[in-house]
Amino acid sequence: MSISINNNALPVQPSNLNESDLQLQTDQEAVDGTMRRNKFGQKKNSVMHFSMLAPSDYRTIKNYFVTGSGVYYSNDNSNETSNGLYAFSGLPAFTENEYAPGASLYRDFDVTIREI
């Protein structure tokens, strides 16, 4: 697995990764229970959790996302696609976590990137 942001390989790969296509669809149910599904498409989505990042890695990874602008996400070893490449332009939303007690400023970091 090798994930890059804006074509820069992450210094540390996430400890937990959830790549999944969000289904833009709604199921409706008629009075007699008949189902109807309206689907408008799907969007790529990646949820990453980094555990106990060293301070320098923490700052490097966070800096990819602090501007709030879109990023290019790429994973060339993904199970989501047949050729292993899961790539898209998306908007990131991240969460900073508290310092781990007694761990020399190590912190967890969470970020979700959703396809534009």
Binding site: V31, D32, R37, K39
Partner: protein, 538 residues
């Protein structure tokens, strides 16, 4: 319903439906090539020129703009069109669209390409695609964009072309130089005439035949077009609306009878209906319609000045005259502009004198009538005294062609069985519902209008609101069946209102207003067969 492909029914009724939407805007109102603006008295009616509004903006002819699809920025939209309280009148469609503006694309004067065009009155089209069919849902013009800077969003509220017609005023300020007066004209002919003057091509409206007798006088000069249209349509008991593609339709009061002959377009059953409610339409069982139709009278004296006006040397003086007779304000269709005369004559004239009591001298060079303007029931005259002495305007007489009341009509229709059961007009304080419309030309037309309302609203529980699996091809006026769940009740209904909403996550919902209608085919001279099934209007 809108025209669809042969495969559409299987697509729209499938359990899984792949949808997409288009939200097209022409921010810069760039026109397609080879377009010129309509010029009254120059351009050809039904020609290729397009109308220009009060500014440099153009109106109508939606297809001739260059659009860009901004669907990828759309968070949600809704389109709403309703007939209103009564089964006739103008139907105006409205649309609301919310856009994501994270990129500041819609922030005024920010984007290099469209930033300068983030303004009101932009052409907007909304469509939904299902299978290979792309179905228009709305065509109109936007209002002022509502932009939330912090939330990075923009909301547009838009109206269809009926709003433009409704608010247009035929005044000299709006560039109108043609006669707004028509006489002995049918409603459809009058609408066709005015739409043509506004630059609409014949392929941009479809007008059904008027069923009312020709109207004596129709005049839009210095009136809001919507007010005139509302009265014309009411007198016909018809409907004026723009369809999803922006085409204007006039339906006469037989329209629903006609569409019922086309067979059921839809069949709402518990398997395609999400919710059904009875709506509380007011019970109306007593209607009185009054009218004072007018006709143009021969040229005659319509006003004479009382008293003397003083016009100092070198100054101008403006006179406004209000015409009236025993029936109130009197519309006048044409006035002969007064010219100088030293004595009384049987045409429009004015008389001057150098003395207020008429003892001085009188000359044709005393005053000049520099301008006149007829406002319908008011006439404006501007006199100029070019001399170095005071002139007294001792007499003015105006001759013109007034549109006089030729008949006073009052017709009442009641449904006694409904009154006995529910009381007289419980939603109108127990009083007859009074309607006045001077475009009604005969007692039978007035009675038909009263009958139409009572027959539609005299009984309760004939109006429904149903949420269904959305079918973007359905339109107002479509006819079909509605089966109430858990009952054996099946109703024959028409669609009289429609609200479509597209929400995030691909949720397309559709709520319909449905009415049961009792259909009557009224006897029409030169159309109905004697001994046929058509009934004489009550």
């Amino acid at each position: 319903m809108q025209t669809t492909s042969s495969g559409y029914p299987s697509v729209v009724n499938a359990p899984f439906r792949q949808l997409s939407t288009g939200v097209l805007l022409s921010w810069l109102k760039t026109l397609a090539s080879n377009i010129s603006f309509f010029t009254i008295n120059t351009s050809t009616i039904a020609g290729a020129d397009i109308i220009k509004g009060s500014s440099s903006d153009s109106v109508s002819f939606f297809d001739k703009y260059q659009y860009t699809d901004y669907a990828t920025y759309v968070k949600n939209w809704s389109v709403d069109r309703q007939i209103g309280q009564f089964p006739f009148g103008l139907i105006m469609a409205q649309a609301d669209v919310e856009f994501d503006n994270t990129s500041n694309l819609f922030t005024p004067n920010y984007d290099a390409t469209i930033g300068s065009g983030i303004l009101p009155n932009r052409p907007l089209k909304i469509n939904v695609s299902m299978g290979q069919d792309s179905l228009q849902q709305f065509t109109g013009f936007t209002g002022q964009p509502e932009i939330e800077v912090v939330n990075r969003s923009m909301t547009l509220h838009a109206y269809d072309v009926i709003d433009f017609l409704n608010n247009y005023s035929f005044t000299s300020q709006s560039g109108t130089t043609f006669s707004g007066l028509l006489s002995n004209v049918t409603t459809s002919s009058a609408i066709q005439y005015y739409l043509g003057k506004l630059g609409f091509n014949a392929n941009q409206y479809q007008l059904e035949k008027s069923l009312q007798q020709p109207i004596g006088v129709v005049n839009v000069t210095d009136r809001r077009f919507g007010d005139v249209l509302q009265d014309l349509i009411q007198a016909e008991g018809g409907i004026l609306l723009a369809d999803e593609a922006g085409i204007i339709h006039f339906w006469n009061r037989q329209h629903f009878v006609t569409t019922s002959g086309l067979g059921f377009i839809f069949n709402f059953t518990p398997s395609n209906t999400l919710d059904i409610k009875y709506t509380n339409a007011p019970i109306i069982n007593d209607v009185t319609v009054t009218a004072k139709p007018r006709a143009i009278a021969p040229l005659q004296q319509i006003w004479k000045q009382g008293g003397t006006q003083t016009i100092p040397a070198g100054q101008s003086f403006t006179i406004f005259t209000d015409f009236a007779d025993n029936d109130g304000p009197l519309p006048v269709t044409q006035i002969t502009a007064p010219t100088y005369s030293a004595t009384n004559v049987n045409t429009s004239y004015f008389t001057t004198n150098t003395a207020s009591d008429g003892s001085g001298t009188s000359s044709s060079s005393d005053l000049t009538l520099s301008s006149t303007y007829l406002f319908g029931t008011t006439y404006k005259m501007v006199f100029l005294n070019p001399n170095n002495y005071t002139v007294f305007l001792t007499d003015i007489s105006l001759y013109g062609t007034p549109a006089k009341v030729v008949n006073a009509i009052s017709q009442q229709y009641i449904d006694q069985a409904s009154i006995d059961a529910y009381g007289r007009n419980p939603a109108n304080n127990g009083e007859t519902l009074a309607l006045n419309n001077d475009y009604l030309q005969s007692s039978s037309d007035a009675l038909t209008l009263a009958f139409t309302i009572v027959s539609q609203f005299g009984q309760p529980n004939r109006h429904y609101e149903a949420e269904i699996f959305a079918d973007p091809s359905l339109q107002i006026g479509d006819y079909g069946k509605l089966t109430l769940p858990n009952t054996a009740l099946t109703k024959t209904v028409w669609i009289t209102g429609k609200t479509d909403k597209l929400s995030p996550e691909g949720n397309l919902t559709q709520t319909l207003q449905l009415e049961e209608r009792t259909l009557y085919t009224y006897f029409t001279i030169n159309s109905s067969a004697i001994g046929g099934t058509d009934v004489i209007a009550p």
